[in-house]
């Protein structure tokens, strides 16, 4: 309603201006696509933020289109760009940066965000979140809906089996020990509650990355043209994942679905889950029990990959549109809006000063779980990103799934994935 009123007003103002013979400001129209990968009424939140922006900037109109998950959104945005449809910016997967560069469709922000104030703004985000944005010394993406993986645990279940509900496991061994206690069976021996769930569909490579970092190994170089799938530490990490089901019996056999996992946690079918912080608010709203959130457990070190979506500006946008898009992105990532966005979704606030706003300070004081992801930033590393990322991700996902379903041993699966990735990436060195 509000937006349409504003549109009418803008229209009227424009009509008056035209009749007066002078057009004071031409309205710049921006089109963008954005994804939603978590629960909750995200589209409404985005619409409200845009309405606010349009109110403050009547000469810019923004049309935001929800386009599915990250992959769907990339497909739609790229298809629109290639079909010469007007799309000037989008929120796309942070790790698609190489693909978008290789297809030559995005521009680095350094090219037009040149004022001192712009430069300060570019430097205002958490360095860990910028790792996926910086390629060849330039900044291609601005962090927006970003996350890390955290451990959710059901405090009631912890109490029930005599574990301290405020002391979630801090190491792999502690997690296995706790999960063994938490796994509950009925009289006929069927499991009614599992100890822990790590999802292995949708974003299997992402979860796996966390395990690898904790085991002291990253999966790719920052140039995005070399992978380490067959490193012994990586193989060991995958063996641990497999062992949770096969050896320790604290996780079910087969793959675990990303999309339904939150529901399973909320219904008490698992006592702990690894999931994105982007799910924090829906879990908070849906949980009928006390739950806790903590950093992922450590093996050699703590660690989680960052994840989520960045703002990108497309090359086809005119100079004027780029300026308008920059203004819009700056608005959306200002500390106050970042704070509100983080509260509404559970995504991390992308910059330290957002955590210093009264809004977020108050929220974190009442709900300390909201700060876990921030605290985990010091251990965070870039999310898996390479040239031809979708393809390499699939090699890895397939390898992980073949191992967690017990079809192949980790070494065999990962060596094969490494060979496949090598064939693709050797062209990019």
């Amino acid at each position: 309603m509000k937006r349409s009123v504003i549109r009418v007003l803008v229209g009227l103002a424009l009509a008056v201006a035209v009749m007066g013979g002078t057009v004071a400001h031409a309205v710049v129209e921006l089109n963008m696509y954005y994804p939603v990968a978590v629960g909750g009424p995200i589209t409404k939140v985005i619409d409200d933020m845009i309405a606010e922006f349009e109110k403050a900037n009547p000469d810019i109109k923004v049309k935001a289109v929800y386009a599915g998950n990250y992959d769907d959104t990339r497909v739609k945005a790229l298809a629109a760009v290639k079909a010469n449809q007007p799309v000037q910016l989008s929120v796309l997967f942070s790790i698609d940066v190489f693909e978008l560069m290789d297809q030559d469709v995005i521009v680095p922000f350094d090219d037009f965000a040149t004022s001192a104030e712009d430069k300060q703004w570019l430097a205002s985000f958490y360095p860990a979140l910028m790792e996926n944005s910086k390629v060849k010394g330039k900044i291609w993406g601005i962090p927006f809906q970003r996350s890390t993986i955290v451990l959710y645990h059901n405090k009631n279940a912890f109490k029930e089996v005599g574990l301290d509900p405020n002391k979630p496991p801090a190491t792999w061994d502690e997690m296995v020990a706790a999960a063994q206690k938490l796994t509950k069976k009925d009289a006929s021996g069927n499991v009614t509650r599992w100890g822990v769930h790590i999802p292995s569909t949708g974003y299997a490579y992402w979860m796996f990355q966390a395990l690898c970092i904790q085991n002291g190994q990253v999966l790719m170089n920052l140039d995005g043209n070399k992978t380490n799938f067959d490193h012994p530490d990586v193989i060991e990490a995958l063996q641990f994942w497999r062992d949770l089901a096969a050896k320790h019996k604290v996780m079910p056999e087969g793959t675990i679905d990303w999309g339904t996992l939150r529901q399973k946690f909320l219904e008490g079918a698992t006592a702990m889950m690894w999931h994105t912080t982007g799910n924090l608010t829906p879990v908070k709203e849906g949980a009928k029990f006390d739950f806790g959130v903590s950093m992922l457990p450590a093996k050699k070190r703590r660690g989680s990959p960052t994840g989520g979506g960045n703002f990108y500006i497309f090359k086809k946008a005119s100079a004027e549109e780029r300026k308008a898009a920059l203004k819009f992105i700056k608005f959306m990532t200002a500390p106050e809006l970042t704070a509100r966005w983080s509260i509404a979704t559970g995504y991390v606030a992308t910059r330290p000063d957002a955590y210093k706003t009264p809004t977020l300070e108050k929220y974190v004081a009442e709900f300390p779980a909201a700060a876990v992801a921030r605290d985990q930033f010091q251990y965070a590393v870039a999310e898996f990103a390479t040239h031809e990322n979708a393809r390499n991700k699939k090699f890895l996902d397939d390898a992980i799934q073949s191992v967690v379903t017990g079809a192949k041993p980790p070494k065999e699966a990962l060596t094969a994935a490494q060979q496949q990735a090598e064939r693709v990436l050797k062209d990019y060195r």
């Binding site: 992959d71 497909v75 790229l78 298809a79 693909e99 290789d102 297809q103 030559d104 006929s188 021996g189 069927n190 499991v191 009614t192 599992w194 292995s200 569909t201 949708g202 079910p252 056999e253 087969g254 793959t255 675990i256 679905d257 999309g259 339904t260 529901q263 399973k264 219904e267 079918a269 031809e388 979708a390 393809r391 699939k394 996902d397 397939d398 390898a399 799934q401 073949s402 967690v404 379903t405 079809a407 062209d427 990019y428």
Partner: protein
Amino acid sequence: MKLDRRTARLVYGWLWLLPAAVLMAAFTHYPIVGGLVSSFFSTPRQGRLSRFVGLDNYAAMIADPVFWQVLRNNFLYAMGTIPVSVCLALLMAMWVNRKFRGRAVVRTAYFTPTILPMIAVANIWLFFYTPQIGLLDKICSFFGIPGHSWLGDPSTALACMVVLAIWKDAGFFMIFYLAALQGISPEFEEAALIEGAGRWYFFRRVTLPLLMPTTLFVMVNATINSFKLVDHIFILTKGGPDNASSLLLYYIYEVAFGFWDTAYASTLTVVLLVILGALAITQFKYIEKRVHYQ
């Protein structure tokens, strides 16, 4: 200038054909030829232009284990869905063709899955299949059967797709059978009764042959569906675990829009076209001989 009668009739006829012909050419024939051509070229990347590579893409396809797996999956999927859904459709049609109380309700119930969008259906079934909290596992646990990760186990994931497809398609095919059954004159049944034919004999020798045109139509549709309908895979498994539930068209989508490897996607599309073309020719040439049109 005046056209002679023959030419005028010719022009007149072609004008009638023109709109459909233009649409067909633009949206069917041109893409087919375009796909075939691009399967002989490489995908442009990093500023390198597309170049002619001959049969390289086809060689890569033959060496691609995922291609063989999705082909095998698609074959199993078709074998699983087509016979069951067609038989079930016939059974349901025979059942709701008789007069009984609540017939309208049963007919509606059978047809409901058809009118639901596939994406919505898949989302519902996702929760049926979810381990522990899903409907299927709830029923299993009631009977003391241990829970199972239906979609997460490579040995059951494809079967889950098959069940969903049967559930979705059978009601749709039932409508065609129902219409055909109502077109069969009751005189046949009366005559058969007088001659002393049993019900099974009547079904086998009279009803079934009279339904053959419908069966052909339904079979063609079922076959096409098993190759072209992949919406549910996006929701349920994304082809996993480890490609266990991926079908040819889904793989084509992945290659084309996930990897942006347009040349290889074209190559796979050509294969899909050849398969569907071959199936269509077989069905029309050979089965039609056995079809009895009234």
